[in-house]
Amino acid sequence: MILETELLGRITIPEEDVITLPEGLLGFPEQKHYIIATLLDYPHFSCLQCVDDPDISFIAVDPRMIIEDYQLVLSDADKQDLQLQDINTALILVMVVLHPDPQNITANLMGPIVINPDRKIGKQIVITNSQYSLKYKLYSQTAPKAG
């Protein structure tokens, strides 16, 4: 499948890589198909590229890269929707909101997108009972490790 995207240009995507989000993302209920693309210049980040609308692209990051013990508890219904037995096998991404000032680039740790990589099904989960921030500042939190 060939996609003319604004962000990544013209890309060829294998159909088997397409991930289906049956409920879409919050605010994007109609767009249900995405691919995860690698950004060569920014290897720590991923691009969540919409297949249904090539003009819709997001930057995302694995929250476990930001917070080592990022915890996510799925309800039985979530597990059923994702056909997922073990959360450790899931791919987890959180949305990154860019800002001209790098200090103000944030990640939304409250609304992770959980993907079953085997079944290619994904879902945005809303975490309500945690201390995770909606606007987690990435720059100030990636402080060089002590030493």
Partner: protein
């Protein structure tokens, strides 16, 4: 959705939605109402503002080729912190 159903409930009274969701008024104190929601696991219940806030973040997270370069400095910093 067709219009808004408006009804009055007293403390300890409830409404039932679709035969499986029960919302009960537990307490009324000033302008705060405490509600108890009983619903099957598959039914997601959130405070409306949380839902709206995540939707807002998603909308803001949309990115175009024009603003991608702002990641440069952050990427560099992450790389440096890993090397330390």
């Amino acid at each position: 959705m067709t219009g808004v159903l408006v009804l009055s409930r007293k403390k300890n009274e409830a409404i039932v939605i679709d035969g499986k969701i029960e919302i009960r008024v537990l307490e009324i104190k000033g302008d705060t109402v405490r509600l108890g929601v009983m619903a099957p696991d598959a039914v997601k219940v959130y405070r409306q503002e949380i839902h709206a806030a995540i939707m807002q973040e998603n909308l803001q997270a949309q990115v175009s080729s024009h603003n991608l370069a702002v990641l440069k400095e952050l990427q560099l910093k992450i790389k440096q912190s890993e090397e330390k």
